[in-house]
């Protein structure tokens, strides 16, 4: 390791910023296969954090664990100051209303229209007049960049890109503070992906969101991520802004951030 290299491991916690997600000593194990081995991660308020890593390094598992879809073997997870693994039920339910999750293929309810999908969490958690809920849902659909006539359509009538936007609209339904995105640009054409990146960036600024994004898309990493966390060797190998990544002395990270596609993405960002 040369002198200029960024030290491996999650860089020393920045005490000046508010931590909204704090993961400590996380161990995930399926059968004999250990996915995460004492993983630590901090996510700060108002940042866009990109999670990268090779296939099978447990990026999606990490996301699922934080939002409570997967129970870890060991470790602690605090979201917005609440222990989401062992905290009191009522507090955990409160915190669940303060995040939104957009799954990779949308995971929209197929028997409901887009408008009904967006209204579903509102009906469950908010006591608002129906007309107001509908108007708010239409605003969320607009925020996600969908045309108004998409509201009446069923998920099966939408293209892949529109489904992702509809999922984003549903994730925004309760005005979350944290937005979890699983592979938001996977399967989109480059123009659509760039537009989606812009959308996330714009929303993040306007709504003051903290975005936790699992992605493979180097363009997204360059365009919108404030910080990147690299998963490798069953933990968070390194975190930091993308500029630091090229000087990390680890074969996978080096190949990922200095390969031909990374250089192309970097050039695109600069131009």
């Amino acid at each position: 390791m040369d002198g200029a290299a960024v030290p491996l491991g999650d860089t020393a916690p920045d005490t000046t910023r508010e931590v909204v997600i704090r993961v400590r000593d996380l161990v995930n194990q399926f059968g004999k296969q250990v996915v995460h081995d004492h993983l630590d991660l901090d996510v700060y308020r108002g940042e866009v954090l990109g999670i990268v890593g090779g296939s099978g390094t447990g990026k999606s598992v990490l996301l699922r664990t934080i939002v409570g879809l997967n129970r870890p073997k060991e470790g602690s997870i605090e979201v917005l100051g609440v222990d989401v693994l062992n905290g009191p039920e009522a507090e955990r339910l409160q915190v669940e209303r303060r995040w939104g999750v957009a799954f990779q293929d949308g995971a929209l309810f197929s028997s409901l229209t887009v408008l009904q999908n967006v209204m579903a969490p509102m009906r469950e958690h908010l006591k608002l007049p129906r007309a107001m809920m509908k108007a708010l849902a239409e605003v969320k659909i607009g925020l996600a960049g969908l045309p108004p006539n998409a509201a009446d359509k069923y998920p099966s009538e939408l293209s892949g890109g529109m489904r992702k936007r509809a999922a984003l609209a549903r994730a925004l339904a309760l005005d979350p503070e944290i937005l979890f995105l699983d592979e938001p640009t996977a399967g989109l054409d480059p123009i659509g992906a760039a537009a989606y990146d812009e959308l996330i960036r714009g929303l993040q600024r306007a709504l003051g969101l903290t975005v936790f994004m699992v992605t493979h898309d180097l363009d997204s990493l360059y365009a919108i991520c404030d910080r990147i966390a690299v998963l490798a060797e069953k933990r968070v190998l390194v975190t930091g802004p993308i500029e630091d990544m090229t000087s990390v002395d680890h074969p996978w990270v080096k190949e990922y951030f200095t390969g031909p596609r990374a250089r192309a993405a970097q050039a695109k960002k600069k131009s």
Binding site: Q94, S110, S111, L115, L126, K127, L128, P129, M132, K134, A135, L136, E138, V139, K140, I141, G142, L143, P148, A151, D152, Y154, P155, S156, E157, L172, L174, D175, G202, L203, R205, A206, L207, G208
Partner: protein, 377 residues
């Protein structure tokens, strides 16, 4: 924790311009109450100032409330000015204003006579098209079946045996149970009636005729339609949804030959077998009940069977089995091929598959009965 402290909106109407002052936390959670308590801006107001300097927090819901108000007032010719907003609040307001759709969505479905007639006509035409498509599919299956019989090496033997096991072997317990119970019920009911005339021994004929000619095979077909027909529609329908059938075609595999022929052939082979098993079980159940209830010994039961029933009675029942099998297989797989869109469609098509195949099997059975009675069989 969500603070339940609600925002309050006050109107200062004496000043010019009129000032709407918003204080507190303007959040979606309490938006309904805030809107109800919101003072109405007097009509004819030329300029309205919305003062946000005392707003502690605002989310998209709150921003929508203000943006919506502004939009409505501006439509009436009022100028709305927002003051005291922080930079983030301004950005939020702008983003939300841009996201409000220009026109309200019209949700209500059309009502009245004309739309009703329109739907009626469309459904009638749709049903007609479905029948044509179903018959075409039936023809296609027959062609492929014959093709496989002519060139047996094209038959997917492994798939055939798997489906024979699934639709045949695994259905034996339920079919035996059903047949046995039918025999018991017939003996029981028959005994009650026949003993009034002292004609108990004719219970054998009653059971044998009804089980062998009609009930054994009909009820087996109904069970198979519910058990295997639904499974065919659901599994092949899911494949259709996952584009597996498209993939087969691009790979030069004929989905009819790969998916449909083994399933239909398995039904063609196994339904007669299951029907035969149901017949035997029905006779056993009937004999047992006759013995216990009427004292007709098994020996006498068998002797009466030999005397009164010829092989043709069994044949009349069994001859229907392949027809029922074709009906069940064709409808189940045709419905599977109609699956499109989402998983909801798989459920709807599966229901339709079972309902249609059972109805058509019963209708076909009635046609057979009339035919055999005209032919004096």
């Amino acid at each position: 924790m969500v603070t339940m402290m609600m925002a309050s909106i006050t109107l200062d109407g004496d000043t010019d311009p009129v000032v709407l002052r918003v204080t507190g936390r303007l959040l979606t959670v309490a938006l309904g109450a805030v809107e109800r308590a919101m003072p109405s801006v007097p009509s004819g107001t030329k300029t309205l100032k919305i003062d946000l300097s005392d707003v502690e927090a605002m989310d998209t819901g709150g921003a929508w409330l203000l943006a919506d108000l502004g939009r409505k007032l501006e439509a009436e010719g009022c100028t709305v000015e927002i003051t005291g907003a922080t930079e983030t609040q301004q950005a939020l307001l702008k983003t939300v204003t841009d996201a409000i759709p220009d026109e309200e969505l019209v949700e209500a479905p059309a009502r009245g006579l004309i739309p009703f007639l329109d739907r009626f006509g469309r459904r009638t035409v749709g049903t007609g098209e479905d029948i044509v498509s179903l018959l075409g599919f039936f023809g296609l299956i027959l062609v492929r079946l014959v093709g496989v019989l002519v060139r047996p090496w094209r038959l997917r033997a492994a798939a055939l045996f798997t489906h024979m096991e699934e639709t045949g072997l695994k259905a034996v317990p339920i079919v035996v149970l059903m047949g046995f119970m039918i025999g018991v019920v017939l003996a029981f009911q028959g005994a009650a009636q026949l003993s009034q005339f002292g004609a108990e021994v004719y219970v054998v004929d009653l059971i044998a005729y009804s089980v062998l000619r009609e009930l054994g095979i009909l009820l087996t077909a109904i069970i198979v339609a519910g058990r295997s027909g639904s499974a065919f529609t659901a599994s092949v329908g899911s494949m259709k949804l996952q584009q597996e059938i498209d993939a087969m075609e691009t790979l030069g595999l004929d989905p009819i030959e790969v998916l449909v022929v083994p399933r239909v052939l398995a039904l063609l082979i196994m339904l007669p077998v299951l029907g035969f098993i149901a017949n035997i079980a029905g006779l056993v159940g009937g004999a047992l009940m006759s013995w216990m209830d009427l004292g007709v010994s098994p020996g006498l039961f068998v002797a009466r069977l030999y005397e009164d029933i010829d092989g043709w009675q069994v044949g009349i029942g069994m001859i229907k089995a392949p027809f029922f099998a074709l009906v069940i297989g064709t409808i189940a797989l045709w419905q599977a091929m109609q699956v499109e869109g989402s998983s909801v469609s798989v459920g709807q098509r599966t229901t339709a598959s079972v309902v249609q195949s059972i109805s058509i099997v019963i209708a076909l059975d009635a046609v057979f009965s009339i035919f055999f009675s005209i032919m004096d069989l």
